[in-house]
């Protein structure tokens, strides 16, 4: 297989994927989306790079792209239209919104359990809701990553402060029921398979368990229910490579978040699962079964 990765070539994840692909005798390159030239030419489009010949590959993996969303989508769509394998395929075939609000509604539509979530559109409505809600409550940026801009408000007054903060910054945010546990389980899903789980425990004095804020990781055995829940959450969100965060309280599981193409520089060493190899094998098998019937 010939694979091109769009992402930051120097990140650990991209380096591991490149390494695994080479071990399996695949051709592989990685470039940043910054290195793609985007222009119109002769009444068509020109997508090119000085580093590689973009069309020389069979499969394309889109890693991080937060700052390059529409460029990535344009590229994904164009490559897909040329008959290429694009991961995640939904980037090319279904519009992708990396918003926690969209994920939340998509999960709810399929009846997947999650903490009660409110997506307020205006300030007054948000405050109205916050007057009747149970505290503490979570407020979080719908577009935040790695635990950034996730707050726990203990009172209405405190929640009000965050609401104004979000509105002033014109950020979309969610109000979410607080489930009183100090850890969550990150399940790594590739294709239809839950690779394994990692228990992330919040550092002292924090309610967030993201590794980026100092959470600690530990491998856990996944229950079949958890594995099943994670795979269906990824499927509902139309993600082929996903990190699903699950909260467990009083033996009930809740899906907290579904992350597209997540980091695994913490997951891989703590679980001993070779995620990079799983990703490479998944893409290679997708290339082998070029039929796109199973696309999302």
């Amino acid at each position: 297989m010939k694979l091109l990765i769009f992402g930051t070539p120097k990140t650990q994840e991209v380096r591991w994927i490149v390494e695994e692909a080479k071990k399996a005798a695949h051709t592989v390159d990685a470039i940043s989306l910054y290195d793609v030239r985007i222009a119109t030419k002769d009444n068509g489009i020109e997508l090119a790079s000085e580093k590689v010949k973009i069309l020389d590959y069979e499969a394309y993996l889109f890693r991080g792209m937060t700052r390059h969303l529409w460029e990535a989508l344009l590229l994904a769509e164009w490559l897909y239209s040329q008959g290429k394998v694009v991961v995640d395929e939904r980037l090319a075939t279904k519009r992708y919104i990396p918003s926690k609000a969209s994920t939340s509604i998509a999960l709810a539509k399929e009846g997947i359990p999650q903490p009660m979530t409110i997506i307020p559109m205006g300030v007054n409505e948000a405050l109205q809701e916050l007057k009747t809600i149970k505290y503490p409550v979570i407020l979080k940026d719908a577009w935040g990553r790695q635990g950034r801009r996730v707050y726990l408000a203990k009172s209405f007054e405190e929640a009000k402060k965050y609401v104004h903060e979000f509105h002033e910054a014109r950020q979309q945010y969610l109000i979410q029921e607080y489930i009183p546990v100090n850890y969550d389980t990150r399940v790594f899903v590739v294709g239809d398979k839950a690779l394994g789980g990692m228990k992330r425990t919040a550092p002292e004095n924090d309610f967030r368990s993201n590794l980026a804020v100092g959470g600690t990781a530990q491998a856990v055995e996944l229950t079949p229910e958890m594995a099943k829940l994670a795979v269906s959450a990824a499927k509902v969100s139309c993600m082929e490579i996903a990190g699903v965060d699950i909260l467990t309280n009083q033996s009930k599981n809740y899906v907290l978040e579904v992350n597209r193409c997540p980091q695994f520089k913490g997951f891989q060493p703590s679980t001993g699962i070779n995620v990079a190899k799983e990703i490479v094998d998944y893409i290679a098998s997708k290339v082998a079964n070029t039929s796109k019937e199973n696309g999302c």
Partner: protein, 283 residues
Amino acid sequence: MLLEAAKDKTGDGVLIDIDDLILGTTNNAPFVKWANGNFLDYDVYLIRDIWHAMKKAIIIINWLKWNNKVVIDNNLAEVQYTINKIRTFFELAQAGLQVPRTFYPQSKAHFQKYVEEAGYPVVIKSNSAGKGAYVYKCDDEATVKDLIKQIEKSGHKYEKYLIQEYIPYKRDLRIFVLGGEAVAAMHRIPKPGNFAANYSKGGSVEVTELTPTIKEIAEKAAKAAKAEFGGVDLLETDRGEYYALEVNRTPGFDGISKATGEDFGEKVIEYCIKVYNQSSGQK
């Protein structure tokens, strides 16, 4: 204009500010709340002027569609990143329409390189601003340098702009497309001293004959941009060539109504009714 027409034609119509809505999920099912009534009480939802709240609007549009409502949103939820002009541009180019050579810079270095490639005069415009805001024509290096200073001062990112070859044109046309069909055309005359011809910037308008060529290009452009109704902007050169520039998804009607003497608000509402009747016929 739209609301009056809606009340005239259907007896009912309401303007909803999306800020008044609350969405959410409880007991593993989605819900929506609207303090002024039942949000799901209507048959047709026409989406207008939501540029300031695109991300919110997309969620609401998807939500209405899940509830099997007729949503006239110009496929906003499908083409959600068209907040950004350049994407429409690439769609037009991909459909084989003639467009000016356009570059998308991702850094200052790209920006400078692409300006050189486009040559002078060069057009530099903001990706996302509408109504002719942040559109510049630079005749020489010095003007571009000034603009770069301005961009750096304002803290804008270079990827907020696109760089375009300047097409000397005879007329700036705006064609209205409704339900995939070009229905009227006008050309816009910029206010003296203004380079952008937008009506909302004080330009004046005059009705234009919808020739078969113009009609065909406009319909093809609307289709490429997946806009069921919209305003297609074309440049017409002295040599009778047409360059597709933009497809506006929520075009203003004042100019075209004035130029043609027809009430376009009414036409849009008639179109909504038609779509609704077709969809209920299918159910």
